[in-house]
């Protein structure tokens, strides 16, 4: 979707805000012939950045820190899902139960 639709979808978001966020690479739409193409994740991220700024008082100077930590958090969670998926597909049931028991013992 283009930038107008995104701005219409996210209350409290002004077009110059979004353009600045794209320039800062906080939001990374695709670009075709100078036109932005936003995907669901980009809209959700714009909404999150708006929430951080407007509801959680994270000003734009501090945003890169917060976004960097969030991106690392989601990287790790995605990896954890990949590992979990790999375990599901490759590890025999007996070993999976051992793993679960071991993790439970650690209080995780």
């Amino acid at each position: 979707m283009n930038i107008e639709i995104v701005v219409a979808q996210v209350p409290g978001l002004q077009r110059p805000d979004l353009e600045r966020w794209v320039a800062n690479e906080w939001v990374k739409p695709d670009q075709h012939d100078g036109e932005y193409e936003f995907y669901d994740i980009d809209v959700a991220r714009a909404r999150l950045i708006r929430d951080l700024r407007d509801e959680m008082e994270v000003n734009e100077a501090a945003l890169p820190v917060v976004l960097s930590l969030l991106d690392q958090l989601y990287d790790l969670r995605r990896r954890m899902h990949e590992i979990s998926d790999a375990i599901d597909h490759t590890v025999p049931e007996e070993v999976r139960q051992k793993l679960a028991a071991h993790l439970a013992k650690r209080g995780g």
Binding site: I41, L48, L70
Partner: protein
Amino acid sequence: MRFRWPLTARRWPLRLDDPYKTLGVAKDASQADIRRAYRKLAKKHHPDLNPGNAKAEDIFKRVSAANELLSDAKTRGQFDRGEIDAAGHERAPEPDYRNHAEGDAGRRYSRAGAGGWSDEEFGDLFSSMFNGAGRAGPPRPTRGQDEHYALQTSFLDAVNGTTSRLTLPDGRTLDVKIPPGSADGQTLRLHDQGEPGQNGGPRGDALIEIHVAPHPFFTREGQDIRLELPVTLAEAVLGGPVEVPTPAGPVRMTIAPGSDSGTQFRLRGRGVPAHGGLTAGQLYAKLRVVIGPPDAALTDFLRAWKPEHPVSPRQAPSK
């Protein structure tokens, strides 16, 4: 692409909580108090900042529903007069960045580059999982680490081979056999002389890097050795036997009469001895004529001397 507007209104079963209690404010709280209370709770429970935490997600839903109801003076008034209940309210789309970010789409914002599983990126976390160390269960025998040492040796010891005693930091001594023909930078591996293994595993190896000190007059080129051999004026002009040092000890060599400075003689097989499939190298001795201290007789002779074929050594040969 699929359009999601108006997204996820009323996707969750609504609980009819008292919005004032949900935000933790009094019935007569000001709009500013409500805003402040909402912000405080949003910071703590925003679901995109608490991925995977269903409790935070549930609290946030109720907090934001309460805020939407109470932050608008008109709907707050309707609620206070009992005209609407806490469920009778349109709500904004639920934040759902986390759902995108954890899936494949989230690679767009990955800090870890292409998102592969290479060792460099996640080696610190997952290497033990993939190489087998650190797994649960009975301890497995592991081989000890290799240990690295450096050993300085003389030029002749490296060429001829020797045995050198090395004292290790833990007090052990190692007799290191340096084979003939060892080169600078070469590494010797001493099996089972490294760190002890664990749980009955074998010791690691000791790896010893040889550093060869330079020699005052020998230099080495592979299997060959070069030497500059000082000779007297008489030896150069008249020729005759001279003694030449070689790595295996001095040998006698005959210099042809009239040998000039820079003339090179080859002593076959007198270089680096045969080792490891290589044949013995050559020793190349290059003459350097040394005039020696001032000598009155020589000076007088040269003053009177008329060369048979006068030449200037600084002119190219006329041929």
